[in-house]
Amino acid sequence: MYSRLKTSYIVYGVVLLVLLSLPIYAESDFIVALMPDGLSGSALLHVGILIFMFAYLSSSWNILGGFAGQLSLGHAAFFGIGAYTSSLFYVHFGLTPWIGMIGGAGLAALVGYGLGFVSYKYGLKGPFFALVTIAFAEILRLLFLYFDFTGGPLGLLIPLASEYTFWEYQFLEKEPYYYIALGLMLFGILISAIVSTSKFGYYLRAIRESEEAAEALGIHSMRNKMHAVALSAAMTALGGTFYAQYTQYIVPDDVIKIALSIEIILFAVIGGSGLVMGPVIGTFLLVPVGEMSRVIFEGGGAGASLVALINENIPAGEKFGKYMDYLSSGGGGGLAILLYGVILIVVCLVLPRGVLPAFKKLGAKMEQRNG
């Protein structure tokens, strides 16, 4: 047990070191030579940012969907609340997104409490709760499209800062975004680890496995579920602010879309939902697979060529927005989406609890053989 724990910590430590130093050698000839044709080191950083952001979002979802077993299919709503709150404060009052994001997280938590209260008060559980979350996200998207102060369907353009400072949460280079995203991911892992070993985490798991038994033992299930919704929502909102600052342009159809909610869940489920590292493992496995398939099977279909897109000479933010379009329209001729689908089916059939538990089992077996 002890040695297996140590091995996994060593693996995580090495991976972290590699990730921390990646920007230093991303542009080196060696890496560029390894990359598919026409891709630069900055594309590598971009994929890294994408992975970290989704790993963070997926970890945030996991607290509610994995630990507490409350299937939310509408987490894009909280993502959107985060993105819009900090951006609106920035656009209208010049408030730094670092503070705006706390406002966004707070608002998302409040909304989460409200959503949890209404759902659980009226006994909406399981699939019914899932439907409430989808409906909520869709309503929010439509409202954001409708109102003028959100920029409506035209979206919100975050004005360039006169100076690129940390305080402005805007940078010319990819590196700062890279490290912020990495920090977010580590933050997500830390919170998950704390929750998972806390009393609160045990309450959530008890509720997931048998709500009635949990109540019979004196666990206040409604209160704990509401806390879980709020925490998960607040964390997701911080991811929304990051996205807004990275792309510097947000539209409701991008930040509050169902496809985003689904993708967040997919990574957690494939990695192993309800486990601290499950969502992270899932994201690290899947995003590169999706990226590779897009590069390899470029062209055709709605999304056209990723290579062309990455080499296009437009600001990073715009590029990222286009990239999201590309994802949602089934880039690479839809092959990536198809591939995700196939992987999901195979994982559900072969490893119904996700990839991480299978890794752990394998580790235990090898240890038995050695010891």
Partner: protein, 234 residues
């Protein structure tokens, strides 16, 4: 120590418990028997607060508790071991037990309670690090009862603890229930195994169609011709 006064409850708009009154004496084993679907489970779920009390009163040591949420009742020492055991399968036995003592009142004494419970259920102690979902049916029931005891309850309500167990295990479970009472916990038992439960009961109530019809000591009910005919198959 516990008194139900003309309580009604049920699901949605179907009334299942229909004006039921009964009493539970301190330190006793009291059994509710009755055929399938008469509302036994609903009754103890109403006592634990998981089902709402529609009308009537539930008094615990003279104080009304029927408006309190379930976790408040657990803090007062009223604990239910639900039908079908309902362990948390992907948690270990130890974690299951700890969850039984997480509430405010019990947390401080959790370690001491664990020792007491394991003294009573040595077989549970051998399996502390096993996932609850991999236990045999008998072991699961023992863990479920242990978990219920972890908060040091005044009243332990057991819903069909013998369900689906082999006769020899059933015998053990009933002996353990007697032992739980001997150590000072009042037990409210709901059982289909009428013979065995009447044997260990001080008092028993027969439930029919949402209400109690016959009551008396365990011995009296065993000798009651109607009970003999309807529930003991004699």
């Amino acid at each position: 120590m516990l008194e139900l006064r003309k309580i009604t409850s049920g699901y949605e708009d179907i009334e299942i418990v229909k004006g039921l009154s009964l009493k539970l004496e301190q330190g006793s084993i009291t059994t509710i028997i009755g055929s399938n679907g008469v509302g036994k489970t609903t009754t103890i779920r109403t006592i634990s607060g998981i089902n709402k009390t529609w009308t009537g009163e539930i008094l615990f040591e003279g104080k009304p508790i029927h408006d309190l949420p379930p976790h408040k009742r657990v803090e007062m020492g009223i604990v239910m071991v639900p039908e079908g055991r309902r362990l948390f399968p992907s948690l270990t036995v130890r974690e299951n037990l700890q969850l039984g003592a997480f509430n405010k009142a019990a947390a401080a004494k959790a370690d001491q309670r664990l020792d007491e419970v394991l003294d009573l259920f040595p077989r549970v102690g051998e399996r502390l690090d096993q996932y609850a979902g991999t236990l045999s049916g008998g072991e699961q029931q023992m863990v479920a009862i242990s978990r219920g005891l972890m908060s040091g309850p005044n009243i332990l309500m057991l819903d069909e603890p013998s369900l689906g167990l082999a006769p020899i295990i059933v015998q053990q479970i009933f002996e353990l229930i007697s032992e739980v009472r001997r150590r000072g916990t009042t037990v409210l038992l709901v059982e289909q195994n009428v013979h065995k439960s009447l044997m260990i009961s001080d008092y028993a109530w027969v439930m029919e169609n949402g209400n109690v019809t016959i009551n008396g000591t365990g011995k009296e009910l065993m000798d009651n011709p109607e009970v003999k005919k309807a529930y003991l198959g004699l």
